[in-house]
Structures are given as C-alpha cells and as structure tokens.
C-alpha cells in the first residue's frame, strides 16, 4: 500500500497517522510505503514547483499497478487520481481535501485571522509554502477520477470527522464519520481513523481478495 500525507503543516502532522496506518497494514499481511512529496520533508525538489499533477506523478512513480492506496488531506486528492491510473484495488481517503484550491484558500483565511491580518497569506501559510500548482487547482481531475472509480465499483473508503472541514464524498464510496472536528492535534495518532480504516480494509480483503 502507498500511504500519502497531506501538504505543508498539515502534511507534517499527518505523518504520525501515515506511519501508524502503514504499520497497521503490515498486521494485515501487507507492506506499506510512506511517501514524502517532492520538496516536502526528506524529499528534494522545489516546493514552489509542486502541483497536484506532480504529486500524482510521485504516487505513480513509487507505486506499481495494483497497489492499494491511502491518502490524508490533500494527499487524498493525489491518490484518488493515482489509484484510478494504477487500478488500485483498495482506496482509503482520510479527511480528504478533494478541492485543493478551496482548501488552501480556507487555510489562508485562517492564517490571516490568527495573525490579525498582519501577514501575506497568498503564498505562505503557517510556515509552509503554498505553490501555485496547488492553490489554483480546483480538483476537477480528482472528481473525474473518483467518478470513474465509483462507476466501475472500485472499493473506496472515505474517513472524515463529522464536524471537520474535509470534503464531502461523491456517491458510490463508503463513508465513515467519526465524532469531532479532527482538530484535536495533540492526539496525533488519530486512532479512530486508523482503527476504522483497518477494519474496512480487513473486510474488503475478505470480500475481494487481491489477485496477486
């Protein structure tokens, strides 16, 4: 399974969930890889050059045909498209932000609010750059990929906090909501989201075992 964090500060704070979920996957008999986007954490590259397309390319470079995929936040948008390209048998979208443009606009508003309007939040939010390629993407390719996936019945799970800001899923996916708004960031393991993701994966593996 390919496990993808979000971007920027949220990307950093989703790493614990990603590594935790990766380990959970091994308890199901699988292997998992946690990706660092180009220009993010340990991966080289200019963060200003990152776009949803380059994140999708990173997924398809790392993963092979038929890998399961999971993504957190904006990472969910990237894996949604990559999963369709690589015929992923299982797809887990956690607190998905399927419209990166709207997500980063909301983050910029939040950043301006907490700094009492003293900052320029157009390219820079909470210590992390927001490249044009993400800020200007309305997620059309994500919606298209998810529609195609649900049309042929590809198993897809959306895990989100009921009162949070994550995207509402399209029809045809399994939606599981947990209580709260997902901002209890002192509890970075986010165990409810891990446990429910593993439970769904276990059920899907029984129902439609992987072919290879």
């Amino acid at each position: 399974m390919l496990v993808c964090p979000s971007w920027g500060t949220e990307g950093r704070y989703s790493l614990e969930w990603c590594h935790g979920f990766a380990r959970d996957v091994t308890s199901l008999g699988g292997r998992a890889v946690v990706v660092h986007w180009p220009g993010f954490e340990d991966s080289t590259g200019d963060p200003d050059d990152v776009s949803l397309a380059s994140m999708i390319d990173a997924c398809t470079d790392v993963a092979a045909h038929g890998w399961a995929m999971a993504g957190f936040g904006v990472g969910a948008a990237a894996v949604a498209v990559a999963a369709e390209r690589l015929a992923s048998p299982y797809l887990v979208l956690v607190e998905p932000q399927l419209d990166p443009g709207a997500h980063f606009a909301a983050l910029a508003r939040s950043y301006r609010r907490v700094s009492l309007g003293q900052v320029d939040a157009s390219r820079w939010v909470f210590g992390a750059p927001v490249p044009d390629g993400l800020r200007d993407d309305d997620g059309a390719s994500v919606r298209e990929a998810l529609a195609a996936r649900t049309a042929h019945g590809g198993p897809t799970l959306v895990l989100r906090s009921r009162d949070g800001l994550a995207s509402r899923p399209t029809d045809g996916v399994t939606l599981v909501e947990v209580a709260g708004n997902g901002r209890g960031d002192r509890y970075l393991d986010r165990l409810p989201l891990r446990r429910l993701g593993v439970k769904w994966l276990r059920r899907e593996l029984r129902r439609t075992p992987p072919t290879s």
């Binding site: 590594h19 210590g127 970075l188």
Partner: protein, 263 residues
C-alpha cells in the same frame, strides 16, 4: 551533488528511531547531530533541517538528524520513552559509525536539554543552540504550590486517560509542565562550560530577554550570542526566519570546522 542522504532505522531499547544520515561526497571533516526538539520532524519546517544538512555536507560534515521519539517515523517507540536518553542512544549509534571525527551538535528549542545530556556523556567540539526555550519564569511557576499542581493533575487525569485510549498518545510534549524548560539558564551555562557554545535567537522570540540577561555569564565562558533583528526564529514561521537559521548556522559551522582544523 555534494551530498548523499541515507535513510536509516536505529534500533534502541525503546523502539526504532527513523533518521537520515547526510554524507558529503568528498572528504569528511567533522560530524554533526541535529536535534530538532520535541514535536518537530527531522526535516523541520519547510525542509529547514534537510537544507541545513546539505549545506553542512558541502563543508565536509556528516550530518545525522532523527525524528524524535513519538514523532513521524519514530512514532512506534514505546509510550513514555525518554527523549533525552534516546537522543544519547542514537548519538552513540551515529558516532560509532561516523568514525573519529570532531562532533558538533545543533539543537533547536527543547533540543537544548538533550544536548546537555549528550555533553555529559561524550566530548563535543561545539554546540549550537537555536532559539532556546524561552518560557523560563521560575517566579511565575513558584507561585503555584506543589499541592496546586498535584490537584490539577488529579482533576484532569480521567479526561486525559479517556482521550488517550480513544485518540492515541499525545505526540506533542506538554511543554507547559516540563521542569526542564524552566532550567534553560542553568542548562545553557552548563553547556557553555562543557563545549564551545554558540546560540542564536530572533528579536521577536521569548528567549531574547533570557539571552540578554545571561549575556555576561555566557560570554565569560566563551559563548557567542547572536540575535537576529526584526524576526522570530522560534517555530520558523517565515521563509526569512528559516533562511536566517540555515545561513547563520552554516556560517557558525564553517568557522568551527576551520578553527578545529587549525587547532
């Protein structure tokens, strides 16, 4: 390319620590450990520490930076693992492989406590402390009696226990109640006595008053203090603060390595 990153998993009694060793392509002149402080990943905000590692590697320095216990790739360490002890453990692992090189430490914020622990157990050729913890107000804390603190812990522990079971562990340390943070002045003085110390902070940081108050004590022990004007270094909130941290730390290391070579 002037450096190569090697991802490593360091076994410790408390679990596996995920780290990166950045190795210069040419001659090795020194070794350095970056201690990012609790809650921060080894790459830092906007890859700040990853960039620094490559800048230092260009000077011939082998750099080791690990995710602290309970953080990012080191999330699987056991509950309650002691961050300072694990830092010493991983430093031993690194130095035993880096060979007989001068060892430097670059510590950020709470990494100061781990650095002092390291300095007590191994010889350091130099230490850089960036934005040391600034919440040091023993007068404020002494106004709370032990009974008050204990009562507060008893009152909140059921909720904390319930949240821990439901949501998992708190990867972020509870800075406000950490006794170590209140000891910043004595930790800095002790470190200055044990190793050549260079410390920097931003004019907008809480630690600036502390460093100004300690100036005489630290400089008397040979330490150097840099205060970056018109910016905040703590939490690296802007590109400028990140650039200042990387550039000034690189300059310090270049000076330190050159002085080490001359000595």
């Amino acid at each position: 390319m002037s450096a190569v990153d090697h991802p490593v998993l360091v076994p410790t009694p408390s679990g596996v620590i995920g780290a990166i060793v950045t190795e210069p392509v040419g001659d090795r002149r020194a070794a350095a450990i970056v201690i990012t402080g609790k809650g921060a990943s080894r790459a830092g905000v906007n890859r700040m520490w990853a960039r620094l590692a490559h800048e230092l590697a260009a000077l011939g320095v082998v750099v080791f930076r690990a995710d602290p216990a309970g953080t990012a790739e080191s999330v699987h360490t056991v509950d309650g693992a002691d961050v300072d002890e694990l830092t010493v453990e991983t430093a031993r692992w690194f130095t035993s492989r880096a060979g007989p090189l001068d060892l430097y430490v670059i510590a950020y914020c709470y990494g100061l406590a781990s650095t002092v622990e390291l300095a007590r157990t191994m010889s350091l050729s130099g230490a850089a402390v960036i934005s040391p913890p600034g919440m040091t107000s023993p007068e404020l804390w002494s106004s709370y009696s032990r009974a008050h603190v204990l009562a507060s812990k008893v009152r909140t522990s059921p909720m904390r226990a319930w949240k821990r079971v439901r949501y998992g562990r708190a990867a972020r340390p509870e800075f406000g109640s950490s006794g170590e943070l209140l000891r910043t002045p004595e930790l800095l003085v002790e470190l200055a006595e044990r190793a050549p110390l260079w410390t920097m902070t931003g004019e907008g940081d809480a630690s600036v008053a502390l460093l100004r108050n300690l100036r005489h004590e630290l400089t008397a022990r040979g330490a150097a203090i840099e205060i970056v004007e018109d910016t905040t270094i703590h939490r690296s909130p802007t590109l400028r603060s990140q650039d200042e941290t990387v550039e000034r730390t690189t300059r310090w290391m270049a000076r330190a390595v050159a002085e080490g070579a001359n000595a």
